[in-house]
Subunit: 198 residues, 4 copies
């Protein structure tokens, strides 16, 4: 009934200002932790790495899936930005997409999970993210492109490349991703994150 430090010094409390910063820190921490220890890593590890209490994590995200989706959303946003940048072309956008695929292997699971136990609208949100990726890619998909023939093909191809991305090092994963695209007969630009300006 008297949880907090009875009299000691409290670590801090920079007030509401911190909210946005904390959310960002949590997402960044989650990205790292999930990458290192997989999707089932303890949520407490994420809070710790973000430098916040566990309560903050729960305030921002109701459950583990929400955290994962927040990370994914950031990835998607980067892909959208890459697609919206000046002089963007399909190869470049695919490069950014591939970068994220090789970075966060763990997330393959999120998309596969059809909510075994998940009672939330997480699957719907995941689908929405998927569609945003699709739209971003289609913007630059030329008429006669291999993956433009049938409607579903584009996202199936994305899933296929994700499936090929295994291995302990990013280098190996990148090599496999590129081999996968080659097998699909698709040209891919440099594999790298989308960085603000250029």
């Amino acid at each position: 009934m008297l949880h907090p430090l009875p009299d000691e010094r409290r670590p801090a409390n920079e007030g509401p200002r911190a909210a946005a910063r904390n959310r960002a820190a949590l997402i960044a921490a989650a990205r790292e932790v999930f990458a290192e220890s997989g999707l089932k890593a303890p949520l407490s590890a994420i809070a710790r790495r973000a430098g916040v209490g566990q309560g903050v994590l729960y305030r921002h995200f109701p459950d583990r899936t929400a955290v994962a989706l927040a990370v994914l959303e950031e990835n998607v946003r980067q892909i959208e930005q890459a697609a919206g940048a000046d002089g963007a072309d399909i190869a470049g956008v695919l490069g950014v997409l591939t970068w994220h695929q090789t970075e966060s292997t763990a997330f393959v699971g999120v998309l596969h999970a059809d909510g075994a136990g998940s009672h939330s609208d997480a699957p719907a949100y995941a689908r929405a993210l998927s569609q945003r990726v699709e739209r971003a890619l289609r913007r630059h998909l030329p008429e006669g492109h291999r993956l433009a023939a049938r409607p579903g093909d584009l996202m199936i191809a994305v899933g296929m490349v994700s499936g090929a991305v295994t291995g302990p090092t990013r280098e190996q994963r990148e090599r496999r991703a590129l081999a996968a695209w080659r097998l699909l007969g698709v040209e891919v630009g440099p594999v790298r994150p989308f960085e603000g300006g250029a």
Copy 2:
């Protein structure tokens, strides 16, 4: 003269025979449980479904990964049998492979897991299984086949199809698997398990 009661009142004399039966029951149970609840389902659920105590599970398998690999091994064995059957061809073997890919989505994870925390030789064993699949397929891979060009391509393609296999129903997963093979320009036979004889 009184014969021993035929079936009643004999708790279990068959001692040695039971071990093999239990192992099989555990693997079958694990296949179902993993399919229903994912790879992180409680081990106790597997023992319960197999109708044995938890101790038996530990007698046969040191840890969760060992259980998963045992299930995978059965899959691999079926693929090898399909490859060894009379009149087998690459399309037919791929059909059996694809069947297993659409059946146990959960196992994608096993292969991705590079043993975060796993201190065992599980990765090595997983690699061995992978090579057995590769050998089974290569037996029937014609000289000029699309996937025969470069050494790694064959198994990368297998991984790619696994990546495409998502969705709640087996039908949907099969449709996606076939689309994936089509995108790879590879012909696949009927998607079904290898059943004993023919």
Copy 3:
């Protein structure tokens, strides 16, 4: 000449006035929340329902018990008012008392709690409230009344009726309360809150 905006664009100047309104809102909210979710409902729920921040709750009440006692105090005040009204008689006052008993079942607990863990003077305050109820009733207790024979009987009877008041609906609880008074051989007036004027 520009007058200050009548109601818009003035965040809250009324400073002093607000405090009283907040206190009342908190008590009303607490009454509802405790009734719905029991005495151990989260304090944050009370603040939320009252439409104020959690800090305000702490400004007005040091702890959960203080909130509960504030609700009880209001009940007691109503009973006192009923006792002070023109033409009041014992049956009428008991009717008002009974109303509160059927309204807030949750508070039975407060009086039973001998402060397991409560380091405060809450028990003393609870006793004081109890005595105020007793005084209010005694004002109208005729000489030869059943409950006037021995000193403690009056409040024991009140406790007894509280004990009889169970059940999910107010109707059921009222029926049981009336049965209890009947078993005690005590006449009770209409069961209703004391409303201002009459």
Copy 4:
């Protein structure tokens, strides 16, 4: 993933034999803990006092309410035994009932709780226990008894006495219980637990 003591000495494990003993120990511990700290005492405290791990508590009882009901069930069984003993009469049985009322004040709450949040069949079970008490009492209720007049009166009276039972010491609670029965015009035998033989 590697919970237990990695190599240390394990406290013990007397095997399945302990199951029954543990259950009994848990109920006894729960009775004490609930009496001391109320119904919301930490379940871990009960396990600790019973000298078992927390898991054992969960194996035997799915939730807090189940624990409480198990304690109540024991009380009820004693009352039934008192009612079944040679030479039992209503006063004697009421004495045993009253003993339990003065012993475990905390349980008033269980019966009041109509399952706010409780999704289980606990209320139904509670009702069943209540009916068993009623049957035990009715066995010895003489035709013209005060509480025999109307059907519901008997159990309402029981509830009423429970409501009167407040106070920090057992002595005080017993005094109040007896005053309550007196106000109801009901004779009660010696207030004591039912002890096996006599």
